[in-house]
Each structure stands twice: as structure tokens, then as C-alpha cells.
Symmetry: C2
């Protein structure tokens, strides 16, 4: 029951997780500045690239853990830049399918390089198997 005794903040796994998440988020945001993207808009772009038929905004919001209302502005911005397109879903006209344009795919590839560079500052010194284990554990937490 070590967890129920007084514990240093530096040993608190929730603190460590939030702090590490915030550090990486901030670093990736900085890395994406040259492309005029942030983690949020980059994430939407990546999801739009994953399905050529397009994803609806509700599922984007769910994956990112945001309210659907927050997705609207992100897509507006990407659409104005010609990186994604909203197309009405013929099967259900309430849906609007978000798909990446060719330019969107190009920008996404560039962005991922910048993201990977930023990641390497945090994960680059860790053994590959430790990073793999970290990814797997986080995956189980985020998508149980």
C-alpha cells in the first residue's frame, strides 16, 4: 500500500504524466510554428489523412477528447488553407466528411518530420524497447 502513504510529488504518477504531457505538447507546438500549425490542428489534419473517404467531425472530437464545438474552428482554418475539404456525406446529409487534400498530405508529411524531431528531444535518449513499452502502456490508458 505504498500509494496511500505520503509521497513526493515527483513520485506521483499522475503528476509525472500530466507534466510530461504538457512538456511534449508545448515542444511540439513550438516545432510546428514554421508550418502555421499547432498540435490541435496537426492532429485534425492527421486524422483527415487517415481515411480518404473522410472522417466526420464527431469522431474527430471523440478521438481528440474535445467537444465537437471546438473542432469547427480547427477545420475552418485548415479548410481556408486548402489542407482539408468538407464534403457532405451522401448517406446522411447531417454529416460532413473531412478529408485531406493533396496539399494537406504534403503538409502533414512535413509536419510529422518536425514533430518527430521534437519528440526525439524527449524520447531519443530512451532505449527503443522502453519507448515501445511506454507507447503500449499509454495506448491502454487512452483507448481501454
Amino acid at each position: 500500500m505504498a500509494e496511500t502513504q505520503p509521497r513526493l510529488l515527483a513520485d506521483d504518477i499522475g503528476f509525472l504524466l500530466s507534466r510530461a504531457g504538457g512538456m511534449v505538447l508545448g515542444a511540439v507546438n513550438k516545432a510546428l510554428v514554421p508550418l502555421g500549425l499547432k498540435v490541435r490542428s496537426y492532429s485534425v489534419l492527421v486524422l483527415a489523412c487517415e481515411d480518404s473517404a473522410g472522417v466526420n467531425q464527431r469522431s474527430v472530437a471523440a478521438t481528440m477528447g474535445l467537444d465537437p464545438s471546438q473542432i469547427v474552428g480547427l477545420i475552418d482554418e485548415l479548410e481556408e488553407r486548402g489542407l482539408v475539404a468538407r464534403t457532405p456525406d451522401p448517406a446522411d446529409r447531417r454529416n460532413r466528411l473531412i478529408a485531406a487534400t493533396e496539399e494537406g498530405h504534403r503538409v502533414r508529411d512535413e509536419a510529422q518530420e518536425l514533430v518527430d524531431q521534437a519528440h526525439s528531444a524527449y524520447f531519443g535518449d530512451l532505449p527503443a524497447e522502453v519507448v515501445a513499452q511506454l507507447r503500449e502502456t499509454l495506448g491502454r490508458i487512452v483507448f481501454p
Copy 2:
């Protein structure tokens, strides 16, 4: 070089880390509502409990990754509730040492129980060694 090829957002370790951090942060914030605390104020309280001589606000800010100006309000609140006290540092009167009161220690103990309960929803299903490995890896990222 798998990291430089198109990758699903769900496999992006930075995304997973930020997302998991946000999830746990939100859950712990909710868990602390009954005590009138948030993760931020709880973290300050924990740090104030760690050193009976008191910690200065600069080091609190550094540990939490915040600007010192953001610490002021957190401590104001804890001080008004009688959970911590600001005492001038005799050795350097620019410093104000933040130490927890007896009541502060009591509240901290209660709070940690709530925090641990919230954590168990995310980490409770993982094998103990996986959690230990996660804590160690995150520690290396946060405090390199």
C-alpha cells in the same frame, strides 16, 4: 525509421502522452472538488508538506513548470484557508518560505486518498511492474 513514415495519430507517442496526461488531470481535478482543491493547488500543498522549513515560490514554480507569477494566487488561496503559511526567510529576505500547517498536512492526506482513487481508474488494471516502469520512464522525461 518507422517513425518517419505516415503513422496513425493513435500510435503517436506525443499524442498519447498529452492525451493520457489530460485525461488523468481532468479526473484528478474532479476527484479533488470535495476538498476545494485542484491539481494545481494540491501540488503546491504537497510540495509545502515535503519540507518543514518551507520551500520558496521560485522552486515551486520550477517543479510545476509554471511561471512564478502563477504561483502567487495558488498560495494566496491555500494561505487564506490556513493550509500553508508564508514566512520570511531570515537568510534572504527576498524569499518567502511556504510551509504547510498542521491542517495543511491533514488536508493533504485526505487529498492523496482521493487522488489515489482517481488514479486507480487509469492505472489500477495495469500490472504493478508496468506501472513502476511507466513511473520510471516518465521520471526520466520530466527530470532528465
